[in-house]
Amino acid sequence: MKIGTFLCNCGGSLKNIDWEELQNFMKEKTGEGDFCVYHENLCSPEGKAWFLETVNKEKPDSIVFGGCTPKTAGYLFEDTLKELNMSPFQVVGANLREHIGWITPDKELATRDAKASLLGAYNKATFDSTVEPHEIKMSQEAVIIGAGPAGIQAAQDLAEKGHTVHLIERNPYIGGNAAKLGTFFPSDDCATCMPSVGIKGIHQQGIRRCHYRSAFDLHPKINLYIKSEVTNVIGAVGNYSITVVTKPTYVKMDRCVNCGLCADVCPTDKPDEINLGLVSRKAAYLPVPTSSTTKYIINRDECPEGCTECSKICPVDAIDLDMKEVTREIKAGGVILATGFEEYDPKIVEEYHYGAPGYENVVTQSELARLIDVYGPTLGKPLRKEGSLAKSIVIINCVGSRSQKYNIWCSNICCMIGIKHAIKIKESFPEIDVTCCYIDIRAVGANYEEFYNKARDLGIKFIRGRPAEIESDGEYLYVYTEDAQADEMRTLKTDLVALSMSMVPSPGAKELAEKLKIDIDETGYFKSLYSKFKTTETKQAGVFVAGTAISPADIPTTKLRGGFAASHLDMLLSQGTLEKRFPIAEIDNDKCTLCEICISVCPFGAIEAVEAANPGLKVQISPTVCVGCGQCASSCPVSAITIDYYTEDQILKQVEGLLYDAKDNPEPLIVTFACWECAYSAIDGLGMSANYRKTTHYTEQFKEQVTEDFPHNLRILPVQCTGNVSARLIQKTFAMGADGIIILGCFEDKCHYETGSKASSIRVKILKAMLEYAGIDPDRLEKETAYFMTSDRFARTARQMYNKLKELGKLER
């Protein structure tokens, strides 16, 4: 193997490194065919041309680059490498600028560290790192589960982008909770209003449509399955196979004209779900009156024995009382979960007596929405159970939310929904007295505070206090609350009380998460890959989440999440084929003993035991699900798993180079295994900070601070994730001459590979105990976490360890 080393002096600015000595050192240490060349400014156009010319002439198999951090060098030379038809893995960077040149002012010390870094990189480069092209064709279809505002938005966006969309809805209608809410804030109009697609195009300015005229279900790319649920999922990103079971509605969707004659003749009387049981309906019924995408359906369980009245009267022959359940296998490249929320059970908050005799006029906010909806059971009049118009209404916020006892989270929209209902009632019935009891009013969206002001303007009363209980005398309700602003007790005698219930994940979310191998967080909602901007992504590359399935949200946010998820799924599928992006895990089936530890530690579910179906093959690692974090490799007791480009041999060879001077160096040497993500950047950040202070003079007082804080003799090497650093690797590194070892990972809750940093913390804890047992001071091994903005954490730990090792002396072997 021929290895070419390119040194760059960053325009001649790294004067504290002896470049000539470095070049001589490399010539002495490297193999016969190898070469080491120097350029003062390699990233300049002239430098790049010279680089291209040199590589073309010398034709090395691998390249070592000694200069700025490989984090930026990688991007600077991306085009050049493409031109040379080399993979990024065939270049190994030695970070001589951020990690050494900018931090260690002493020329002798800096040059010594630079030699170590360079030789380490060279050793690593002696391994073959050519990347086999690996491509998997992806299905261009998408499955969306849940047809509420988020699912509808995602379906429309994906369909407009040209993907065939399978929209799966459990209810017999679309629109989700929004279909029950009537109007919504802050626009103060229909909750189910949607953009129009298919006919005029989604982006036509100003066009928005009611559900009933949206032609949503007529879009040629959208397949809507109502009364359907996902029962099984197999496959991974790009190629899912999803089993969907559709319950019969007994009405042929393509024939029904919504005339309603079937319901008219139906002899039954059942509570109506969409109106939360406030009124009754027939067994043949229209689930929501406001949508033409919804047709009449028949609930056969409720049909009287032998009755065929509906079928006889239907003028368009749409009814088939023998309709069967249908099971479909849908192939899709990706899935969006938009399963939404439901109201928390109001009976759990006992002191409000929801559902108890005498408390029939205690309702939830959803029920109040039905009462004041002109399409609702009371034609928009807030009537009491016995039928009289309520003269006073009390709205109680935060019922079951923001509580250690019930649900810890703020449900985000209840304040505004309460205000919306108060406004709607007051506008239609100014004589009704409306009072809102609140802990804090959270009016945080665009135009929300204005909406709140409007409510005050209309004369709606606001009392700061969470009512302790509701009492009933059979006729009136009495709400007992403190008015915390007046420091007074208030007993509100009222006709109707509406509880703003907490929002909890839809039932079945957990089972879906299990089927799709994603996580739910402690609240029960789906866990986003990253809360700041990967909100709609999950740890499975092909599974996205949207709407209120992530956390409680208003309709604008829900729609944004739906669109965001669709846009990201489109970006994924539009690639057509899936390329191998990361170094991934490889298993040697001859070594494997089928202990299945790797299967249990893999946070992505990428590993499967396949022996039963494939004799001779024990364990299979999915090349599309695996991200190459190496948690499996470091846990494998027989070293059967390796990570391309980060194999144990390769890492140890690099350590050998990093510790080239272990025998002659009188000072202690610290090896740092840094996760290639946030942690490595944090060390870069230290160098950047030091250089910034030195050159920019903006804080004279702290000019030398970072350099003083940061010790030399640090030998840093990147790993894909600290979860890949095995106990064996740490022990061998000590044996090879390290006096101290720091494992620098990302913060455990921000680990890029879910559990990697946590795993390494546990490993270090155990190893510390083992070191102590072996008579080695456990302070020689530390785990630290850092990200770019907390780079000082690493500097502090490194300095502390350096001082400690000075005290302890070199490790005797």
């Binding site: 250690q404 969470r466 420091d487 007790m489």
Partner: protein, 165 residues
């Protein structure tokens, strides 16, 4: 450990359990005393703790003695704070700091000496007779005095009396 550091530690413990209080007023809204007597407001007691008001004020506050210890606040608190317990602890601390109101001390003394809060008068006995209720058994004074001794109540009553006389 001196008595004052012990008190301070106890106080820190109380602060610890009240940390999550967001002053929603559920405790006050359900408090049967607050409904009748607005000067006693459990939410205000919690507020003082949250503000780390470690002046004597909180213990000097005679109003906390109006708490009837029904613990409705503890049951209702959405943050799961045992408000009733916190108020009881403040009462205990106040006693240790010799800040109990004279009326309370006198009542305690009566119980300690007679075993009952109020002496059983002839009138009461007569009324019971009329209602055909059984005769009241005499209080077990030994047991009651043992409780006063073991809990330290006896000691505190004595100290407070010495202080005030």
């Amino acid at each position: 450990m001196t008595e004052s550091t012990e008190l301070l530690e106890k106080f820190e413990e109380l602060l610890e359990v009240t940390k999550l209080c967001y002053q929603c007023g559920t405790c006050a809204g359900g408090c049967p005393v607050f409904r009748q007597y607005p000067n006693f407001n459990p939410r205000r007691v919690m507020e003082k703790l949250l503000m780390k008001d470690f002046s004597e004020q909180i213990f000097d506050d005679q109003q906390i003695w109006y708490c009837s210890m029904c613990y409705t606040c503890s049951v209702r608190c959405p943050q799961g704070i045992d408000v009733g317990h916190v108020i009881t602890e403040i009462k205990n601390l106040a006693v240790q700091m010799k800040n109990a109101p004279p009326g309370i001390v006198a009542e305690l003394e009566t119980i300690m000496e007679t075993g009952v809060t109020a002496a059983i008068s002839k009138g009461i006995m007569k009324r019971r007779e009329q209602l055909e209720l059984p005769e009241l058994p005499p209080p077990n004074l030994d047991e009651i005095q043992k409780i006063f001794e073991v809990t330290g109540a006896e000691k505190y009553i004595k100290q407070i009396k010495e202080e005030t006389s």
